[in-house]
């Protein structure tokens, strides 16, 4: 298999070519360039599978392939390279698979619906896929940042796809701007990493996580700008985390994601659920060796994650639009991943990243199918009873929902459970702050179960509540196919890492993902990360007991939430129960006023400041400039008044001038002595 790594660039470039093709000749191709995208992503998927297989043979790849900026005379050289290890190989497969499925789904969602501007759509998808894959294979932080930004661009372009309407451009702007705010910190972090270590490589003996480890151990010294090494590393880590929080829609930069649902649903599935939003979490995982060195950074990650998980889940409870529910659910689920990473559960977080990618892409595509059927009406209160009309969609959607809610034995159960479990044992092991995060995560399980099944019941059960719901638009194979694939994956991917089963039943060797992630390069193994993290584990009466208790509690909460939803909404004529929430209802409807305060910041703080600055600039700064000229001209106009036009005055002034000269020089020269 030697040589497969030489084709890794093709994984990235194929979708890029499809972008170029769609852009250049898309409007002369059938289906607006869709086939180019499908072929390209299929090719990338196959290559990714081959790469995955090669990696499973124990091979890894860490190679510079392009010098972006050659530094002379000892200045740092900025390069692009490929880092193919189990983590990135796994991610490659996930991304290419979902990209492929989304491309196919788009045939149904976009082409069959007669949308215009399809070349632009497929070009955007192609560019996004290429950028995302470039990010995944990046071997250094700068390259990661660059592709991180490019996916942001694609997100902007695709959210704003329907630019002729007022909503999408605004949402696109908000998405880019909010993530840009996070990226600002990220960029400072990148620069700081370079300044500190002279490199931004992720892997190898000259990588920055490794150098940081050595610096803490006193084996090497780096420029820490006058801080203690650990403090400085924490600062740098938190700076990079800014980008993560923005991209993965974590509190407080999560506000863009619900708005981003203005984009086409396949885009939401691909970008705003499965892949791009995952970029933040992936980045933390990618440089986990660096974060693991800083307990403070880890604690903050865990807290952000736990809080976001709970916070977003509560908002999902009251939403009326199906995609809004999914959007808040996405934020919440990424909170879990962050919680996992912060809590020392590197593998668990990666696991949840993977399962979530499948089931959330599934849910979005299912929602897309529903939206097609409902003629682009997303309000769940206009749906109902779709179960009979679209069984494929219903059953796959149900599979995804069960996974999302974390119901045994669907994929989400396993991964969420492990995240919570890891957090719990590390929290018990002397990190009370993790226990707080754990509690929040646990509580969120209940809400997750509730909003998930509220969504299912409102959409598919009961009686149709509108004319379109009674006579929905049919969907074709290109919608059903991807749903089926993902439905199976959502139900089954849990098997890759059945740690609880291993712990409870003592069956060794079924924690495949652990083994997989341990096969990485030196310093990037799950094992190594576990050593680096500052956590120790403690159990509630034995490991197996803890596993059982944890699983039982979270499963119980999920079922409780689902049950409540069943009671309230699985009726023929469901009604809104939000009034029972009292004042909290308004708060939730308004998303805890998160948008409001950000809009307020923009409109009532930044705008007045800029207007004031403009006034200041026009009035004072430019006023001084014009003032100098006015004063000069005014004094000129005074000076010329000396010339009265009367020749006698001239003679007088002349005499006066001469006299002054004579007197002045006479006194000065002592003529009169």
């Amino acid at each position: 298999m030697a040589g497969i790594f030489d084709f890794v660039p093709a994984i990235v470039l194929l979708p890029f070519v499809s972008f170029l093709v769609a852009l250049a000749v898309g409007n002369r191709m059938p289906k607006g360039g869709a086939f180019a995208g499908i072929v390209a992503t299929a090719g990338s998927f196959l290559l990714s599978l081959a790469t995955f297989f090669t990696v499973s043979q124990g091979q890894t790849y860490n190679q510079t392939i392009y010098t972006w900026a050659q530094g002379l005379d000892g200045a740092v050289t900025l390069e692009f390279g490929l880092l193919i290890d189990p983590l990135s190989a796994l991610m490659l497969v996930i991304v290419t698979l979902i990209a492929l499925l989304v491309h196919i789904f788009s045939l149904g969602y976009m082409n069959d619906e007669g949308e215009t501007g399809l070349p632009r759509y497929y070009a955007g998808l192609g560019l996004f896929t290429a950028s995302m894959l470039g990010f995944v294979v990046a071997d250094n932080l700068l390259m990661a940042f660059m592709f991180f930004e490019l996916v942001g661009l694609c997100s902007y372009l695709l959210i704003g796809f329907w630019f002729r309407e007022p909503g999408p451009p605004s949402a696109a702007k908000k998405a880019f701007l909010v993530t840009r705010f996070g990226d600002y910190f990220f960029l400072v972090g990148v620069v700081a990493v370079f300044a500190t270590f002279g490199t931004a490589a992720f892997a190898g003996s000259e990588s920055f996580p490794h150098l940081a480890e050595q610096a803490l151990a006193g084996e090497t010294s780096v420029n820490t700008f006058g801080f203690a090494a650990e403090t400085w590393f924490t600062i740098v880590g938190l700076l990079v985390l800014g980008g993560v929080v923005g991209k993965s829609a974590q509190f407080p930069l999560h506000t863009w994601l619900p708005d981003a649902m203005e984009g086409p649903t396949p885009v939401s599935a691909l970008i705003h659920a499965a892949t791009m939003v995952a970029a933040g979490v992936y980045l933390v995982a990618r440089m986990y060796g660096f974060y693991a060195l800083s307990p403070t950074a880890l604690a903050i990650i865990a807290l952000i994650g736990g809080f976001t998980a709970l916070f977003a889940a509560t908002m999902g409870v009251v939403k009326r639009e199906i995609k809004q529910v999914l959007a808040y659910s996405t934020i919440s689920q990424y909170g879990y991943m962050m919680l996992g990473l912060g809590g020392g559960g590197y593998v668990a977080a990666t696991f949840h990243l993977m399962t979530h990618a499948f089931f959330k892409a599934l849910l979005f595509l299912g929602a897309g199918s529903v939206i097609i059927a409902m003629h682009h009406n997303e309000n769940m209160w206009d749906m109902g009873g779709l179960k009979e009309k679209m069984p494929v969609t219903y059953y796959t959607f149900l599979s995804g929902s069960l996974a999302l809610a974390g119901i045994f034995p669907f994929a989400g159960f396993w991964s969420k459970d492990e995240v919570l479990y890891e957090t719990l044992i590390h929290g018990l092991g002397g990190s009370p702050i993790l226990l707080v995060a754990y509690a929040m995560g646990l509580l969120a399980v209940f809400f997750t179960g509730f909003y998930t099944f509220r969504m299912v019941f409102l959409t598919f059960h009961g009686k149709p509540r509108s004319q379109t719901a009674r006579d929905p638009h049919g969907v074709r194979w290109n919608v059903k196919g991807p749903l089926a694939v993902l439905g199976v994956l959502a139900a089954t991917t849990g098997v890759v890492n059945m740690v609880p089963v291993e712990k409870l039943l003592g069956i060794k060797g079924i924690d495949f993902l652990h083994q997989w992630l341990d096969m990485s390069l030196d310093g990037l193994t799950a094992h190594h990360y576990a050593e680096l993290t500052p956590y120790s584990s403690a159990y509630i009466g034995g490991e197996a007991t803890t596993v059982a208790i944890g699983a039982a509690v979270s499963l119980g909460l999920a079922i409780a939430g689902a049950g409540l939803a069943y009671v309230l909404y699985n009726v023929p004529e469901p009604t809104e129960h939000t009034d029972k929430l009292g004042g909290i209802k308004t708060l939730l409807y308004n998303n805890y006023y998160q948008d409001e305060y950000q809009v307020w910041l923009a409109n009532s703080v930044v705008r007045p400041i800029s207007r004031g600055a403009d006034k200041f600039d026009q009035g004072v700064v430019d006023g001084v400039v014009n003032g100098v000229s006015s004063v000069s001209l005014f004094s000129g106009s005074r000076v010329r008044r000396i010339q009265t036009g009367v020749v006698s005055n001239y003679a007088a002034l002349l005499t006066l001038g001469l006299t002054v000269l004579l007197l002045g020089f006479g006194l000065l020269g002592g003529w009169f002595q």
Binding site: L72, F145, E149, L153, S629
Partner: protein
């Protein structure tokens, strides 16, 4: 004699176009302006020198002979290029051609004069970037202003007269201040220099041969001269608070003149800062690092905040130029390979991108005859190609990776963050970097309001896609921006070779 030939051809082209009939002037000018493009690209292809022209490095395409002998300070005709000036030369020729093509649509009176002036300005710009004798350099430096004055004054908008005079007088006074500062330095050097050749002066200054002059000790003289020259060049750049001529000039200038103004003329200021202040007097620059860095940060943030408040597309881009040029100042004062080299690279990058943005605004204006945000929306519906390129250019301005602007900005940030000239440099860098958020804010808002949303236009004009020759220059610029963003080493290597000798610390950082 390559440079002389280049200039002679350009001057001759200007003359020919001046007397050409108006109907053909635009086409003729575009065709003739390809000659300098080819010439500069040839120079770029043949360039194999390295080092800084002022500090004893190779000087490519050099010519040097005595032109005037005045007292004991001769004036030489001394031209040549190094890794700093060659990219700027290429930028100038390419941008001029594109600006000329972009003028075909909007310029409908006195065409032959317009294009003649454009070419005349190009010829002088070539002189600015190649002259290595102060005197020759100054002659070209000043001569650039005259055509720009006419370009704004004759073909500009409603307040063109005010803007033209303001630009002209403001920048001339600045030149004077700078001139006095430099001449004082030359006098302070006394007998240690025999001419006004910049290499001679730079090396003498760096060798601490400055004496006292006009009652000032050598150190004080150096400080005074540095400040005077900095102020003089700062007006041209421009940095806050000496920037107020710029928005007026840009708003009133016709699009092609804006392109040249933002794309090349502003770079004259930073080029001169690099060549004079930062190359000749690194010790003073390092001593003044805090005020200079504060000015840089102020330019970035304040300029961006001002852009946020503007309602006129062109004013937005104009203020964002102020903001972008602040980065350049920050990079220069960092005294690191990436800082100074990045600043030089950013000059090129910003030249292309701001040219692109001004042209794109101009293309929209050609159709709508308005640039006010409130007067239109959903333009992308009617002008998809132009809007697409506008969006791409705007993202280039925001520093999207793999476009030239990101390379320039990242180099600068990296260079200034690790700069050792002052312990607060990382903080200044981080503060300046916040500009990338604000720039996204105002450009995205502006695009959302004008390009997107339901189509609405209050004017009497029919909004349709622009002609091919209007869009083609945009596309070319976009392509160049991307090429430079993907492979910055096209210029960055030679820039580093020229920049590293300036850094006394060596290239280590």
């Amino acid at each position: 004699m390559m440079i002389e030939a280049l200039m002679a051809v350009t001057f001759a082209a200007a003359l020919v176009v001046f007397v050409a009939p108006d109907e053909y002037a635009g086409r003729l000018a575009a065709a003739l302006s390809l000659l300098p493009v080819v010439g500069s690209l040839l120079m770029w292809a043949q360039y194999d020198a390295s080092g800084n022209a002022l500090l004893g490095g190779d000087i490519a395409f050099e010519t040097d002979f005595v032109w005037l002998s005045l007292g004991n300070l001769d004036v030489h005709w001394f031209v040549g290029v190094d890794g700093i000036s060659l990219p700027l030369l290429v930028l100038t020729t390419i941008l001029t051609t594109l600006a000329i093509v972009s003028a075909w649509t909007p310029i409908d009176v006195r065409q032959s004069q317009f294009y003649g002036l454009m070419l005349f300005m190009e010829a002088n710009l070539l002189g600015v970037f190649t002259a290595l004798d102060f005197f020759v350099w100054f002659v070209f430096w000043e001569a650039v202003l005259v055509p720009m004055y006419f370009l704004i004054g004759i073909w500009g908008g409603p307040r063109r007269k005010y803007a033209a005079i303001k630009f002209f007088v403001y920048t001339n006074i600045a030149s004077l201040v700078m001139f006095i500062g430099f001449i004082a330095l030359v006098f302070g050097l006394g007998d240690s220099v025999s001419s006004m050749r910049l290499p001679e002066i730079a090396q003498a200054l760096r060798a601490d041969q400055l004496g006292s002059f006009a009652g000032l000790s050598a150190d004080a003289l150096k400080l005074v001269a540095f400040v005077a020259m900095f102020l003089g060049f700062a007006v041209k750049v421009p940095v806050v608070p000496l920037h107020t001529w710029l928005p007026d000039a840009h708003v009133e200038a016709p699009t092609p003149a804006s392109v040249m103004l933002a794309g090349v003329l502003l770079k004259m200021g930073t080029y001169a800062l690099l060549r004079f202040n930062f190359t000749m007097m690194p010790d003073v620059a390092k001593a003044l690092v805090v005020p200079i860095a504060v000015i840089a940060v102020l330019s970035v943030i304040y300029g961006a905040i001002l852009a946020l408040a503007q309602q006129d597309l062109k004013r937005i881009v104009a203020y964002s130029s102020v903001s972008s040029m602040g980065y350049v100042i920050l990079g220069l004062v960092a005294y690191t390979t990436y800082g100074v080299g990045g600043a030089t690279f950013q000059m090129i990058a910003h030249g292309l991108i701001s040219g692109l943005m001004f042209m794109a605004v101009g293309v929209i204006y050609n159709t709508t005859h308005t640039r006010m945000l409130g007067d239109m929306s959903g333009i992308a519906d009617r002008m998809p190609v132009t809007s697409g390129i506008f969006v791409a250019g705007a993202f280039g301005y925001m520093g999207l990776p793999l476009m030239a602007g990101f390379a320039g900005e990242f180099f600068i940030f990296q260079g200034s963050f690790q700069s050792t000239v002052h312990s607060a440099m990382p903080l200044f860098t981080a503060a300046a970097m916040f500009g990338i958020v604000i720039v996204a804010g105002y450009l995205l808002s502006a695009m959302q309001r004008t390009l997107f949303g339901p189509f609405r236009f209050d004017g009497d004009y029919e909004v349709t896609e622009a002609a091919f020759h209007d869009v083609a220059p945009l596309a070319v610029l976009l392509l160049l921006v991307i090429v430079l963003g993907v492979d910055p080493d096209i210029f960055f290597t030679m820039i580093q070779q020229a920049v590293n000798p300036i850094l006394e610390t060596g290239g280590g950082l």
